[in-house]
């Protein structure tokens, strides 16, 4: 049975049976390339604000911000986070979730180029929620999207500007992003997704 409807519950899987797609070095290189692309595309980092989407997007945002600082050699590019929990379109379908931190740098986002950073781009709904959150926080000049992994299966007209790695997947698979800050090591794994209760292969 193949499901053509989006799962209304988080997609989970067992990382111990997943196979590695990117190792630590690959992750580092991808982030470095992304930082260069951001600087190139925006002709520098003058008005750039990097905001990570919790949880892992925040760590990635900090790393990207640090790499941009290294490239430009200038003062720190503002880095922060924007929690999207309150803007999710699937809130009513699941139990309530705890909030994560929204940390907007002191100069705000008005007139800036906001680069959203997330670990995995999948249906696009998280990013849509982030765009709604941003519109309540100010009026950026532009919003760009950087993701470590694009796994396809978009349900909304959303695309990433900067991609670490394209990993085509089936809906029976899931992508695990592990980061030093949260998981003790850097890696991207691909493995089977947990099936909905009651279904068998």
């Amino acid at each position: 049975m193949t499901s053509t409807h989006p799962p209304a519950r988080p997609v989970t899987g067992d990382p111990s049976v997943a196979r590695p797609v990117l190792d630590a070095a690959d992750v580092g290189r991808a982030l470095t390339r992304i930082a260069h692309e951001i600087v190139e595309r925006n002709h520098g980092a003058a008005d750039v604000v990097v905001l990570g989407i919790p949880t892992r997007g925040v760590s990635l945002a900090r790393r990207v911000g640090a790499r941009i600082d290294a490239i430009e050699g200038a003062g720190g590019v503002p880095v922060g986070s924007v929690d999207v929990t309150m803007y999710r379109d699937d809130l009513r379908l699941r139990g309530v979730r705890a909030l994560e931190e929204t940390d907007i740098p002191p100069d705000g986002i008005d007139g800036k180029v906001v680069v959203l950073v997330d670990d995995v781009l999948f249906s696009g709904r998280t990013v849509r929620a982030a765009l709604d959150a941003l519109s309540d926080l100010g009026r950026p000049r532009a919003v760009q999207l950087a993701v470590l992994v694009d796994r396809g299966h978009r349900e909304l007209p959303i695309r990433a500007d900067y991609v670490g790695k394209n990993i085509p997947t089936s809906l029976t698979e899931t992508v695990h992003v592990l980061l030093e800050e949260t998981d003790g090591r850097d890696a991207v794994l691909l493995g089977p997704a947990d099936l909905p209760r009651g279904e068998t292969r």
Binding site: A8, R9, D83, M86, Y87, L91, R92, L93, R94, G95, V96, R97, A98, L99, E100, E101, T102, D132, D136, L137, G138, R197
Partner: protein, 319 residues
């Protein structure tokens, strides 16, 4: 910030309903939501399409407004229902009102009533969530939550804080909720009052008891003064307000005996000159004004946690 429990039970009727994890969840959520007040657009879309009814049988502009602002900041629709005189109309008001609210499709009813246990009865008659905004002399859980939030935000912690609650404990719903919540969160609570204003059975409460305010103040990090009604004098609970004030009022002299960082709280409204002197209420130690702002954040958190996701039944069906 991960929480093992990410939902509250269907109602918030008593501070005793909240486990330590649930209480911390409310406080942490409130901390995030407090930032909404600093944004140009003070709104989140989370409770769009939900209806919150403020059902107030007792006048309280302050608490009602606080809940109203909280609900509106979450984009909920708010209906204010002021129903008076239930003791006169013998509860027809309560049940009939409940049926009316059901028909209106209230998702949450914030209820303040003069009779202890009224929200519990209401919870039997409506499908939505009931938030107790103060029932008789029983409890006022969101007050306790905002008090705990205020303590944490001023003093950085709640665990092992020495909290003194002073005044008419017998008739105080604020005292009951605070004793329960603070002990759940690991504070050391002492209640101080003349013996006539302490309930029989207070010895079973998770707090210490004292009749001597001057002895306890130097060892307190937080002093919470409760309002004392003059009518209690007529019930013989104390001979005169002058004597009450002399023995249990917080004046400037007593305030000076507090440790340097101690704070003074009051749920309001105050009887300036009776339980609290004007200069104390207006001093830097006093948290009375910020308690009001904190009330909105805490109530936003409660409404979000009760209504923001699927009802528990729906979650189980989907999972």
């Amino acid at each position: 910030m991960t929480h093992p429990q990410t939902a509250l039970a269907r109602h918030l009727l008593s501070a005793a309903d909240l486990s330590r994890d649930a209480a911390l969840l409310v406080l942490d959520t409130a901390e995030e939501l407090a930032r909404v007040a600093d944004r140009p657009i003070k709104k989140l879309p989370t409770l769009r399409g939900r209806t919150v009814v403020n059902l107030f049988f007792e006048d309280s502009t302050r608490t009602r407004t606080s809940f109203e602002v909280a609900a509106k900041r979450l984009s909920a629709d708010v209906i204010n229902f002021s129903a008076k005189g239930s003791s006169v109309s013998k509860g027809e008001s309560l049940k009939d009102t409940a049926l009316t609210l059901e028909a209106m499709g209230a998702d949450a009813v914030v209820c303040r009533h003069g009779a202890s246990g009224a929200p519990h009865r209401l919870a039997n008659w409506i499908r939505g969530s009931v938030v107790n905004a103060g029932d008789g002399t029983h409890e006022h859980p969101t007050q306790a939550l905002l008090d705990a939030y205020t303590m944490r935000s001023r003093l950085g912690r709640i665990e092992e804080l020495r909290v003194a609650i002073v005044g008419d404990v017998l008739h105080s719903r604020v005292a009951r909720s605070n004793v329960l919540l603070l002990s759940t969160l690991g504070a050391e609570v002492t209640v101080i009052a003349p013996p006539t204003l302490l309930p029989v059975g207070v010895e079973h409460w998770p707090c210490a008891v004292s009749y001597d305010l001057d002895a306890v103040l130097p060892k307190s990090d937080v002093v919470m003064m409760l309002r004392v009604q003059r009518e209690r004098m007529y019930g013989g609970f104390f001979p005169t307000t002058r004597e009450y004030s002399r023995r249990y009022g917080l004046d400037a002299r007593r305030m000076a005996t507090l440790p340097d960082d101690a704070i003074v709280m009051h749920p309001g409204p105050m009887n300036r000159g009776v339980e609290i002197a004007a200069e104390v209420a207006d001093s830097v130690r006093s948290t009375i004004v910020e308690q009001v702002a904190n009330g909105v954040s805490v109530r936003m958190a409660v409404l979000y946690l009760l209504l923001g996701g699927a009802l528990l039944e729906t979650v189980e069906a989907v999972a």
